[in-house]
Amino acid sequence: MKRSFMTTTAAGALALASLASAAQAETLTLCWAAWDPANALIELSKDFEAQSGHTMRFEFVPWTSFADRMLNELNSGGQLCDLMIGDSQWIGGGAENGHYVKLNDFFDANGISMNDFIPATVTGYSEWPKNTPNYWALPAFGDVVGWTYRKDWFERPELQAEFQETYGRALDVPATLEELKDIAQFFQGRDIDGTTVYGAAIYTERGSEGITMGVTNALYNYGFQYENPDQPYDLEGFVNSAGAVAGLEFYKELYDTATPPGSSNWYMGENIDAFRSGQVAMQMNFAFIWPGVEADENVGGGRAGYFPNPAGPAGQFAQLGGQGISVVAYSSKQNAALEYIQWFAQPEVQAKWWELGGYSALRAVVEDPGFATSQPYAQTFLDSMAIVKDFWAEPAYADLLLAMQNRVHNYAVAGQGTAQEALDGLVADWTEIFEDEGKL
């Protein structure tokens, strides 16, 4: 492994001189989730095929089974994927279990600097252990949870007047989560143009990661912390702090009083459907959907607006999404795979990536003076990326996630027990997992 990696790096350095001079044309398979940005990547990659002579194949798996399917592939040493755009939380397992090729030498040899990328994405998608310069991926797609709202509804004079009267302030983008809840409750059950509409579509999905990706947006801002900042894996009093309990209660109240009935198992797709069909005034969703919202014939073209996750009593944070692109250690075509990453990292390719609807994490792209106004959602994306926090990226992240899905869904959606009990239970679950891992 080591030796082949050395030759890989050397080949990568050579490839810099001329991408077209690749020794041999390969067929590379890139694995990612099946979603809108993936279609854009196919289009983008045509340039790589033309320049390098390699052929690209794509294997896209839907989000709800993406982790199962791909981790299954990696854990069994499969050679299906040469390139993996794996979820941010996999990075620990990918590094510690040897699934991913370490990219430091390759970056150095080819003049790719992690300083050129948005810092949050480097920490979130590339580093393991976190906050150390050990890179296992190149930030490929920046993503973060934010909110989409019906600007056209917010701007109706009669609604504005009524809102002003009820809440004593203007109906506008909420500055705090508390305000967001007011607005959502204001719209809940309201008759707009003859149909009953609801407040907000939020993440509640049970089976994979949905409700966790949603509830954290409330938890962080009310004071939840994953661990004691001074003592790793010390959970008691941080995961189940008074603030965390308040955050979880907030999420349940939002679910109970301001979401469409039956939205008990909703994730990205269902929220988009609800928003596009005019059921809700606001939706929580990852930023990747915004280009699609803008283009939609029902709600696009200026009828929708965007805002970052509002602040809570303990600050303003947003759940990080997004992925980095890694080379799979079991691939026999690592040279060509590295060539792809090298091509992908180029500023002009990244600029085109953004143009096609892919959220580039390259600072040259997002710090361009024209960026913030290039799309209606561009500024919101930048603001959101500045406040991100991510879930555990430990090798045991799947265990940790399952426990959280279970505890949170049981309380917030199924209505069993109290928020304090749910989070106490989560501390117990997580402690047991870290003990099994030998970290405690």
Binding site: T29, A34, W35, D36, N39, A40, I42, E43, K46, R57, E59, V61, P62, S65, D68, R69, N72, E73, S76, G77, G78, L80, T195, M268, G269, I272, D273, R276, S277, G278, Q279, I289, P291, G292, V293, A295, D296, E297, N298, E355, L356, G357
Partner: protein, 312 residues
């Protein structure tokens, strides 16, 4: 027609007919809704409240068979005016077609694996059922129960060892591997059903043939097989329905090469969110082969199961 005491009265028949037709219509509603959704536009498909009357479009089918990407104005300009009706549908949505989708491949995989495993299952199952029916196989009852018991394992329970085993044997994500796997899962049902059918065929025919100088193979091939055709056909339907629609193994054991359509269909996404019309179109097309197969064999399905289900 002679009077029969067992024939129900006309009024009773009418009532029975009305009840059954009523049930059939209710049970068809979800199915018709799926088929109708395939012809809706994406926004009609998620209309709030739902719409029954809509302007039909082929967009779902176009989206099912193509990959598209959202086009920048420059790309639309480069692409020029649409050359075909499906290009036009895509461009009306501000997208350009980038190539065919994987649905065709997945569908073909389903055909190869579904029909391949059904054929293999019928060959092995008929032979084994014949042996169990006609010969004194040691521990016959235990073996029969053993065969049935293999169907009791939840697929998830054996998926890990099978996954590791397939990888070692190079069968992982191959058509052959999936054919063998589905054959094994279906064998229990087919041996049990087919043994029932073959038990019904009088032994005397074969004995006569053997006396005429036929070998056992010939007697099996020329006497028993034609008589068991009905049973084989109806058993084949059940095996095909299972192999055609199987999901748990397919989602865990296949990916790029041999993935069948069931894990693929629910995952079809459009330019924003799930593309329900394309999902519905995929489900509709996927239903057709097994539907045709069943309609062609429906006489056997009803007649067949009469003999095959349980020995009298």
């Amino acid at each position: 027609m002679s009077f029969s005491v067992t024939e129900p009265r006309m009024g009773t028949k009418w009532l029975a007919g009305i009840l059954v037709v009523g049930y059939a219509i209710i049970t068809m509603v979800p199915l018709l809704w799926i088929i109708a959704t395939g012809f809706k536009s994406p926004n009609d498909s998620i209309a709030y409240p739902p719409v029954i009357l809509f302007e039909p479009t082929m967009e779902g089918y176009v989206n099912l068979f193509t990959d598209r990407t959202r086009a920048t104005p420059q790309m639309l300009k480069d692409a020029g005016p649409p050359e075909t009706w499906y290009d036009e549908i895509a461009q009306n949505r501000g997208t350009v077609i980038t190539g065919p989708s994987r649905y065709g491949e997945r569908f073909l995989n389903s055909v190869i694996i579904g029909f391949g495993s059904t054929a293999l299952c019928m060959i092995l199952g008929t032979a084994a059922a014949y042996a169990f029916s006609r010969f004194r196989v040691p521990l016959k009852d235990d073996l029969m129960f053993f065969i049935l018991s293999t169907r009791m394992m939840p697929p998830i329970a054996v998926a890990i060892p099978i996954f590791l085993m397939f990888r070692n044997l190079g069968l992982s994500d191959t058509h052959l591997g999936m054919i063998l796997l589905y054959t094994a899962v279906n064998l229990s049902l087919s041996v049990w059903l087919l043994k029932g059918f073959i038990d019904e065929i009088p032994v005397e025919y074969e004995e006569a043939a053997l006396i005429d100088g036929y070998t056992r193979f010939q007697a099996f091939y020329k006497i028993v097989l034609p008589q068991a055709a009905t049973g084989i056909a109806s058993t084949a339907i059940f095996c095909l329905i299972f192999a055609w629609n199987e999901y748990a193994f397919a989602v865990l054991l296949t990916s790029g090469n041999a993935q069948t359509a069931p894990p693929f269909i629910p995952t079809i996404i459009g330019t924003s969110g799930k593309d329900w019309p394309a999902v519905a179109a995929g489900a509709t097309i996927f239903l057709i082969p097994v539907m045709v197969f069943t309609i062609l064999l429906r006489k056997h399905l009803l007649r067949g199961i009469t003999f095959g289900a349980v020995r009298k």
